[in-house]
């Protein structure tokens, strides 16, 4: 079976800057894969290329078995993406946002109502349906963002810093949801700056200056610097890379 994501020498340059530098990576179906790295290390750029939002400068990427440079629109139907900046419409209510995205993904009639109902129940959005997205607090906004990205039941989900600026309890709930999704077979690629979240991923990729500096389970990555914490590994490996 195809991997969920398979990149070879994937590269993206912005002028003189190489944001992603010959990244080769394979993510299996059903994995929760965490992408770590300091600010500007190329996480968002990688995800955007995988979603068909940015064209690679060179290299290739197969997403759910489809070459994203050749058929980005086919890839888009199969993936869910939650951008670093939440993309729900502030001037629409929760229900209107969900109906909109369901419609845009081609759901109609009973099918649409069922799916929206499911995702509302899954993320406990039932009491908020009539509220404008602008009036939601940070944690609820993230949930709405996730709901919009899930309403068409994608097999592969990209979450770019989904819990940035969210309180600890809401973060914990959010990660419960991610594990539930993984249990039902969804592949998740998530970026984060929180080490407790990184520790919950099946595998991690650590990026620095556009390339991978570590890859493996959280324990394996920690072992690379002598079995200390993930946070130590993060700091030490990055310093090593920058020398």
């Amino acid at each position: 079976m195809d991997a969920a994501v398979e990149t070879r020498e994937l590269t993206r340059r912005f002028g003189a800057l190489t944001a992603v530098d010959a990244l080769t990576l394979r993510i299996e179906r059903g994995e929760v894969f965490g992408l770590l790295g300091p600010n500007g290390s190329g996480k968002t750029t990688t995800i955007r290329m995988l979603c068909g939002l940015l064209e690679p400068s060179s290299g290739s990427a197969l997403v759910t078995g489809i070459d994203v440079t050749v058929a980005p629109e086919q890839v888009k139907q199969r993936i869910g993406y939650m951008a670093q900046r939440v993309g729900a419409y502030e001037d629409l209510t929760v229900a209107e946002n969900l109906t909109f995205y369901a419609g845009i993904y081609g759901l109609r009639g009973d099918m649409m109502r069922t799916r929206v109902g499911e995702v509302v129940a899954f993320l406990s959005l039932g009491d908020r349906l009539g509220q404008l997205a602008a009036q939601l607090s940070g944690g609820w906004k993230q949930r709405l963002g996730l709901a919009c990205a899930l309403v068409h039941r994608p097999g592969l989900l990209f979450l770019d810093e989904p819990t940035a600026g969210v309180d600890p309890a809401a973060r914990r709930r959010f990660w419960h949801t991610i594990h539930d999704l993984a249990a039902s077979g969804t592949t998740v690629l998530v970026t984060t700056h929180y080490m407790d979240e990184a520790a919950q991923c099946g595998r991690l990729g650590m990026m620095s200056r556009g390339h991978l500096i570590a890859l493996g389970t959280p324990d394996e990555v920690a072992a690379q610097v002598g079995g200390r914490t993930l946070e130590d590994a993060f700091v030490v490996l990055q310093q090593r890379d920058e020398q």
């Binding site: 979603c51 939002l53 940015l54 064209e55 980005p72 993309g87 209107e96 109906t99 419609g103 845009i104």
Partner: protein, 369 residues
């Protein structure tokens, strides 16, 4: 095919209803434009305040002054006793015209020598002075003819009967208000749609939108279609106000007018959309829209007749949809003409609409760079 158009349309419609700025533009621009252009710009000049220095004070001279007043261009506000007083009134701006009938006027007239009467006009405003000068010359001309024909004992040899057609009262609202339909549509619709895509870009929702499988055409058409209704409503409002406030006639086929307007509305929206794909911020979108408005107002023939323009300006005017639309609106409203006279303009407008939509769909990229 086009299955994602409706969700997009519905979303845009809800947002349009909730956005105060858009709503203010939709209502505010037509009202302001109608007041500014409808009332303030009266190109037909009437009732210039006039001071009279009648030195002869005879029935003959009073008769002449009455003739000047009857043209409707002069309104006598004062009689003065000397030339300095008259000049002062004009210099102060109390009066814009002065009529001086000299002592000799009745005598010269009776003797058959040339009698002179002096008309002084404040020409600082060329438009009003021109009308007054023409009127004054007209008065003299008419009197000359009647006196001469009496003396020669025959009727006047030639009479040119000039009959203004289509706008018999020579009223400027009849010319301005139909044009205003086009100007208001261009201004609001271009401005609103020019913001359509940059607004999503600035708010960060564009990334989430283009990561979905919506096609570019569905996205573009879904974005502009709700505003077609806005355009039709605005147009209806201007027509009703024009009819009942400014007395502008509606002579021709109203359905035809709506049909052509629909094409023009789509072209305007598509132009705004194209702008939206070219600019990066809402600020730039607003500037670009106003930059587009100015030549439209000046060169389309909305305010000044195109025939009077230098050739280059006439050519530039041909690049603007408004130029063709003005011909159509005025043709239908004032002359009551139909498709047989206007089909060329209609075809050109349709071509504008198609080309602009295709261009903006092609310009738009479903990527972030």
């Amino acid at each position: 095919m086009m299955s994602r158009f409706w969700p997009m349309f519905r979303k845009e419609f809800i947002q349009m209803r909730r956005d105060r700025l858009t709503f203010a533009m939709m209502v505010g621009i037509p009202v302001i434009q109608l007041l500014v252009f409808g009332y303030a710009i009266q190109t037909d000049v009437r009732n210039l305040p006039t001071v009279v220095l009648d030195q002869s004070r005879t029935p003959t001279s009073r008769d002449l002054i009455a003739a000047f007043q009857n043209t409707g261009n002069f309104r006598v506000i004062a009689h003065v006793d000397g030339r300095p007083e008259l000049d002062a009134a004009i210099a102060r701006g109390d009066a814009q015209a002065g009529i001086i009938v000299p002592y000799d006027y009745p005598r010269d007239l009776a003797r058959g020598t040339t009698a002179t009467v002096q008309v002084i006009v404040d020409a600082a405003d060329p438009l009003s002075s021109q009308a007054a000068l023409n009127a004054a010359a007209g008065v003299a001309q008419a009197r000359n003819l009647s006196i001469l024909s009496r003396a020669a004992d025959r009727s006047i040899p030639i009479e040119a009967r000039v009959r203004p057609r289509y706008n018999p009262g020579l009223r400027s609202p009849n010319y301005i208000v139909p044009g205003l339909v086009g100007v208001i549509l261009t201004m609001t619709l271009v401005l609103i749609t020019a913001m359509a895509i940059v607004r999503e870009r600035e708010r960060g929702t564009l990334e989430q939108l283009i990561v979905t499988p919506i096609t570019k055409t569905e996205l573009m058409l879904g974005k502009i279609t709700p505003y077609v209704g806005v355009g039709l409503l605005q147009m209806t409002a201007v027509l009703i106000l024009g009819r009942f406030v400014f007395d502008v006639p509606i002579t021709g086929n109203i359905l035809l007018l709506y049909g052509v307007s629909l094409i023009f509305i789509i072209a305007s929206l598509a132009f705004g959309l194209l702008v939206s794909t070219l600019v990066r911020t809402q600020q730039q979108a607003i500037q670009a829209s106003f930059g587009f408005m100015l030549p439209n107002i000046l060169l389309s023939g909305f305010m000044f007749p195109r025939q009077a323009m230098p050739e280059i300006a006439q050519w530039l005017g041909l690049l603007m949809p408004l130029t063709y639309f003005l011909k159509v609106v005025r043709g239908i409203l004032l002359k009551g003409v139909g498709l047989e006279a206007l089909w060329q303009e209609v075809l050109i407008l349709a071509a504008f609409a198609v080309v602009l939509i295709v261009a903006s769909v092609r310009r738009f990229r479903k990527t972030l760079d």
